[in-house]
Symmetry: C2
Subunit: 346 residues, 2 copies
C-alpha cells in the first residue's frame, strides 16, 4: 500500500484526511487531543477499527503532552482527555475498547514513574495498531474462502484499509480472495450521505488494483434482482452479543434484499467490534449526525431552506439476516450468542 490511514510520528498523530478524498490526498497532523477528537468527529478518520487506533494514539498524545512528573497527577491530568476521546463518537465500540485498553495499562503501571507510564501508553497504542493490522490479514484469509472463484461482491460504505489500522475488513476479504487467484469485481454502493463508497472504496480499490463499479444506494436492489451480485460483504461498527450488527446507514436494507434474492450477506470485523456487554442491537446507541450532511452535501444546498432532515449514521441488521461473521479468529455462524462467545473465549 502506498498510503496510510493513521500513524504515530514522534509526538504527532498523522491521519490521511478522508474528507478530501478522492480529489486530494492530504495528511493531517494532530498535535493535540482536541485535534484528534475533531478529526474523528468530522470523519477525517473513520471506520470503527481506524478510530480505535486513532483513539489509542490520541491517548498516547495526551500522555506525551502532559508535563507533570508526579505519577498520580499524570493520570488525573490525562483522564479527562481519555474520556473526551472515548466519547468522540458513540456507535463504534472499538473507540471505547481502545481507550479502555489504555486505561487498563495505566492502572497496571500506576505507581511507576511518568516516563514509564507514558511509554506504556504509546506501546499499548502501537500494539492495538499492529494487532488490528494483523487481524485484517487474518480475517481476510478466513473470509476469502467464502467468496466465489469468479464473481461479484457488493459492499457498502468503506470497510477497507481506510477504515482500519491494516488493510480493511470487508475489503481485506476481497483483497485476500484476489491474492488467492479469485477474479472478483466489486460493486461499491456510493453510501449517502457522506459517500464513503463513491469516494473512498472506489479510490482504495483503484489503488489496490481491484476492479470496481460505483452505484447509487438505490440501485443495489435491482442489481440483486437481476442476479448480478454473488454476495454482499460489509464491515461493522459494533456487533451485539446476539450477532445483531450495527453498520453504516443503508446496510440493513441490503441484508433484507440479500435474503430476498438468496444472496449471502457477510459481515467482516475484528473481534474488538464484538460487544458482549450489549446483548442485542436494540442496545446499540445510534449516532444522529448533523442534518446538513443530508441537505448540503459538499457545501451545495439541495433541499429548500427550512426543511428538516433525518441523518442517522448507522442502522442495525438483525442476526437472522447475517450468513456469517468473519473475524481474525475465524468465521462465526448462527446461533451467534454461542459462536461469538466461543470466539472471544479462545
Amino acid at each position: 500500500m502506498d498510503f496510510f490511514t493513521v500513524k504515530w510520528d514522534d509526538g504527532v498523530v498523522v491521519l490521511l484526511d478522508q474528507t478530501r478524498l478522492p480529489a486530494e490526498e492530504v495528511y493531517l497532523s494532530c498535535e493535540s487531543v482536541d485535534d484528534v477528537v475533531a478529526a474523528i468527529r468530522r470523519l477525517s478518520v473513520r471506520g470503527a477499527p481506524a478510530i480505535g487506533v486513532a483513539g489509542a494514539y490520541g491517548a498516547a498524545l495526551a500522555a506525551h503532552l502532559s508535563e507533570t512528573t508526579d505519577p498520580a497527577a499524570f493520570r488525573a491530568e490525562i483522564e479527562p482527555e481519555l474520556t473526551k476521546l472515548r466519547e468522540a463518537r458513540p456507535t463504534a465500540v472499538n473507540l471505547a475498547w481502545a481507550v479502555d485498553h489504555v486505561r487498563r495499562v495505566l492502572d497496571s503501571v500506576a505507581d511507576r514513574p511518568v516516563p514509564t507510564q507514558r511509554e506504556a501508553v504509546l506501546a499499548e497504542a502501537r500494539r492495538i495498531h499492529e494487532e488490528d493490522a494483523e487481524a485484517c490479514r487474518a480475517l481476510g484469509r478466513h473470509g476469502a474462502e467464502l467468496l466465489p472463484d469468479a464473481g461479484t461482491v457488493l459492499t457498502h460504505c468503506n470497510a477497507g484499509a481506510l477504515a482500519t489500522g491494516g488493510r480493511g475488513t470487508a475489503l481485506a476479504v476481497i483483497y485476500a480472495a484476489v491474492e488467492a487467484g479469485k477474479r472478483i469485481h466489486v460493486f461499491a454502493d456510493e453510501t449517502r450521505p457522506l459517500l464513503q463508497g463513491a469516494r473512498l472504496t472506489a479510490w482504495e480499490c483503484g489503488r489496490m488494483g481491484v476492479p470496481v463499479t460505483v452505484l447509487c444506494d438505490n440501485a443495489a436492489g435491482s442489481l440483486l434482482a437481476r442476479g448480478e451480485v454473488d454476495c454482499i460483504v460489509v464491515g461493522s461498527d459494533r456487533i451485539a452479543a446476539n450477532g445483531d450488527v450495527a453498520n453504516k446507514i443503508g446496510t440493513y436494507p441490503l441484508a433484507v434484499l440479500a435474503r430476498e434474492h438468496g444472496v449471502p450477506f457477510y459481515v467482516a470485523a475484528p473481534t474488538s467490534t464484538i460487544d458482549l456487554a450489549t446483548l442485542t442491537g436494540a442496545g446499540i446507541p445510534i449516532e444522529e449526525r448533523a442534518a446538513d450532511e443530508v441537505t448540503t452535501p459538499r457545501g451545495l444546498r439541495i433541499t429548500p431552506e427550512g426543511v428538516p432532515a433525518l441523518n442517522p449514521a448507522f442502522d442495525v441488521t438483525p442476526n437472522a439476516l447475517v450468513a456469517a461473521i468473519v473475524t481474525e479468529r475465524g468465521v462465526a455462524r448462527a446461533p451467534y450468542e454461542e459462536s461469538l462467545r466461543r470466539l472471544l473465549e479462545d
Copy 2:
C-alpha cells in the same frame, strides 16, 4: 398552486425548469420540438404524466410550426417529430401513450385542411392535459381513504404536481387526505442520483403547506424498522398488465422493506400509466442514464477519475409487493391482471 409544470402559451411550450429547483424558479420556453425533446431528456420536465403532457404539447408545437398547406405533406412533415418526441425517454409509457393519442386524432382528420388538423392536435394536447389534471384530483380522492387519520407517509422521488399535468399522483393522495382533515407528515426519500425527493418533493410539499422531512434513501430501512412509517405511496412510470410496477430506482427496495415491516405499499398513477401490451415487469425497458449523474452530482466529481458507474433510472416492483394501485377510476387490488383490465374496460 402558485406554480405550473407545463403550459401551452400561444405557440410556445413553457416548462418549469426542474433541474434548477429548489434554488431557482425559472420557466423554460420551448420554441421547437427539439427544445421539448431536450427538456424531456435532461429532466427539466419529468414524471411520467408530465412528460406525457409535454409530449402532447410538443406534438402541437410540431403542428404549429409546419408551414405546409397540403394535408398529406403536413402529416409527413410532422411524423418524424412525433417519433422523436415518443422516443425521448423509454420507460414512462405515458409519453408514447400521449403521442399515440395525437396520431389517432391525426388519422381521423387526415383529409381535412391543415389548419383543422393543427387545431385538432392542439385540442387533443389540451384534452390530455385537462384529463391528467382531473385524473390527479380523482385518484387523490380514491387514495386518501387509504391513508391513516394521523400518521406518516413515506414517498420516493417526486410524484406530485411537478410530475403531472395536475396536482400529482402519490402526493395528490396526500394532498386530498390533508384536505379531508387528516394529519399527515411526509417523509421524502432524497432519491439519488437526481435528488427529486430532496429538491422537488420537499419544495412542493412546502408550497402546498404539507409538513415534510427529508432523509437519505439509505435511512428508509431503519425508519421502517423503528415503526415510524405508516404507509408508503409512490408514483409509477409504467404498470404492466400483471401489476408489476416500474418506478424511480430505489422503489423496489422500499417495497421489500414495506412487506418486511407490515407497512402497506401503495402505487398511485393515472390509467394512462397502465400498459396492457406489456405483460409483466420483465418487458418494461429500463432507461440507463449517463454515469456522470452518479459520479458528478451538481457538477462536483465525487468518484476517482476513470471509475465506472451504473445508473439505471428505474426498477421494477413485483405485483406481490403492491397493496393497491390507486387510479382515477378507482383502487385496484390483486389479482391485478383482472382488476387492471376491468378498470380500463369501465
